[in-house]
């Protein structure tokens, strides 16, 4: 039995308000499942569990504000949960041979031939959800129009989802948020959190700044060719390329990817890129895009879209709050030429991308118009020096010359 506790989502968090349970007693959860939503200064955060097992009981009522560390629910871990129902199913008087249970001591069974015993019941496994019936035509349409079949009611044979069912669903207005519960982002609280983090950064981190202009004409050509053949759902933005290039470079340059804590730098093997996302009405969050260096561009783009959408809807996950090992910030097409970021502690680097501008550029000895972007690096001088920073930025620029290899 383990307690599921109010997590700490940053050093400055003292308490959180439990605003939604996504599980109920008896439900099975596995590591990584989202089980609750907690309102914090940073907005509503979806909380994941680290345990696999069965929810035994809910300990905190909705809308109560509790300190970090307070048990919120009790989870019976896998081994316990499997053992228990079997025991409960067996009449106490009958001789029983327990199925092997990892949590229990091995029963002392003599090696003599055992009396005939019923085999361990497989019925304790959680029932697999019934497969959604969906016709081939409907499945193809759902893919093309990005309709989640789980949201469609089937009208075909045996309740199967048909083409018309998907078409009807696709024609409905896009819901403005995934769920009816609208977690209002508290922009004032967010501003307070940004202020604290940025003040701490400027107080503690000796920043140094570098800038590097890179020709991204190849990226633009490659993108327009690739996107021409794709439906809007699968199209890529240049932001996916710059993010991937940064992640790959960060993997090769560990001095920019990790945490500075307790006067010590811990480089990170994994590259979790914090994506700076502007919130309408003023506000900023930089949730982590996990293992960005390992993702294909297509996956990276769809994860980016999901992350931006959830962040703006106020639904960040707990693991996305504090996992970032480096941050990327970009002001996009309506931004300015150059921006220098402030490092988000305890990270040690932030990479900025300015607006893509058409500039006279020398290629093979001749001046011609090229699309040029200014990449900047703000890095922690306690961990790295300008020379390493320059190599890191140059590497990002090089990677952007061959977009098909990203």
């Amino acid at each position: 039995m383990v307690d599921f506790r109010m997590p700490s989502l940053g050093a400055d968090m003292e308490a959180g308000t439990l605003v939604e349970w996504l599980v109920k007693p008896g439900d099975w959860v596995k590591r990584g499942d989202i089980v609750a939503v907690v309102e914090t200064q940073k907005g509503a955060i979806e909380i994941e569990t680290f345990e696999t097992g069965q929810v035994e009981g809910i300990l905190v009522e909705l809308n109560s504000k509790v300190p970090v560390g307070t048990p919120l629910a009790r989870i019976r871990t896998e081994g316990e949960a499997k053992a228990a129902p079997v025991a409960a199913l067996s009449p106490a008087a009958a001789p029983v041979i327990s199925p092997p249970a990892p949590a229990a001591a091995p029963p002392a069974i003599p090696p003599a031939p055992a009396p005939v015993a019923p085999p361990p019941s497989p019925a304790v496994a959680p029932a697999a959800p019934a497969r959604t019936r969906i016709s081939p035509a409907a499945r193809r349409l759902a893919e093309a129009r990005s309709v989640d079949p789980a949201t469609v009611t089937g009208s075909g044979p045996g309740g199967a989802i048909t083409y018309a069912d998907v078409a009807r669903r696709a024609a409905e207005p896009t819901p403005s948020s995934e769920r009816k519960r609208a977690p209002t982002l508290d922009l004032d609280a967010m501003r307070t959190a940004i202020a604290a983090a940025m003040a701490r950064s400027k107080r503690e981190i000796p920043h140094y700044y570098l800038a590097h202009q890179v020709d991204v004409t190849a990226c633009e050509h490659w993108l327009s060719q690739k996107n021409a053949a794709l439906p809007p759902d699968n199209r890529l933005l240049i932001g996916a390329l710059t993010l991937k290039a940064t992640a790959l470079a960060a993997h090769s340059f560990p001095a920019f990817n990790g945490f500075y804590r307790d006067n010590k730098y811990e480089p990170s093997e994994a590259v979790h890129v914090g994506v700076a996302i502007a919130i309408r009405g003023g506000g900023l969050a930089a949730p982590a895009l996990h293992d960005a260096d390992q993702l294909s561009l297509d996956d990276l783009m769809s994860r980016m879209r999901d992350l931006v959408q959830r962040t703006r809807a106020g639904r960040i996950r707990s693991s996305e709050i504090s996992d970032s090992t480096i941050t990327v910030t970009s002001l996009g097409e309506r931004g300015v030429e150059t921006l220098y970021g402030i490092i988000y502690p305890p990270q040690v680097a932030i990479v900025g991308f300015g607006k893509v501008l058409v500039r006279p550029w020398v290629v093979d000895g001749a001046i011609g118009p090229r699309s040029v972007i200014t990449i900047t690096l703000s890095a922690d001088h306690r961990v790295s020096d300008g020379h390493a920073g320059a190599l890191f930025l140059t590497e990002i620029g090089k990677l952007l010359q061959e977009p098909d290899k990203l």
């Binding site: 016709s135 081939p136 035509a137 075909g156 044979p157 309740g159 048909t162």
Partner: protein, 335 residues
Amino acid sequence: MQQEALQQGTIDTSYREAVRQAIRDAIMRDERVFLMGEDVGRYGGCYAVSKGLLAEFGPERIRDTPLSESGFTGAGIGAAMAGLRPIVELMTVNFSLLALDQILNTAATVRHMSGNQFGVPLVIRMATGAGRQLAAQHSHSLEGWYAHIPGIKVLAPATLEDARGMLWTALQDPDPVLIFENVMLYNITGNLAADAGPVNIDKAAVRRPGRDVSLITYGGSLWKTLEAATALAAEGIEAEVIDLRSLRPLDDATIMTSVTKTRRAVIIDEGWRSGSLAAEVAMRIVEQAFWELDAPIGRVCSEEVPIPYPRHLENAAIPQAPKIIAAAKAALGRA
């Protein structure tokens, strides 16, 4: 039948009469054409198709044969190879099995085995299907078996136009063509253009357009299927009825176009279900239009019994409109 109104230039006629006129026309147009088979002359054909033709054209062109399907089909193959254009009539598809060796091992293979030196421009007509209480040795629908054989074409005229028009086109074909006339069609009547003539023999026809489900059929089942489609329309289900017309080769394009539109298919085939032509059509749909489907493909076939003699059992054994309606509704999830 599209031409319902009594327009000028149309005649009231029957399927039997249309077949007879097709034979007359062919004999008159081409001196190489002749008809032979059991009882086609003096008796006028066991389904009375050739009644009167012996008097009109004489025994050279209308030839009665001994009761030996293998023998006279072989004679027809020889005549065709030697330059004539025989029409061989086999009394029923059940009896055609006696000539199967000639049809499969000779007619269908000669072009292949002679290295294209010889062809067999032969037409074989035969009756098929149940419904006349002729019991298990006269009532089966084995055209699906013939549609298995490369080297021949297999036709199933279901309308007056096709009964009138397919024969001449078949006679122009350089290879054997088998024409299956469902016994329940001989008596159907309707209007036919007075100048009705040859028709294509390689395209399926949409006999009734619709958007909700494709009912794919041929031959004697066409009229039951159209009856079912009318009943379905009364319940708001718009069925599209496809008449295959040619069972070999199959017109895949028309089938797939229809199924792509309706996303549902039911195949109505008087053959037995196992290993049937319906199975072949269904599999082609799966191969070529799987991603268009909205429901499992349905089949209405004959019960897997020898066709019974008693009328109520005979009717129960073969496809009927209520079964077709039920299968169409099942495909729409309205069962």
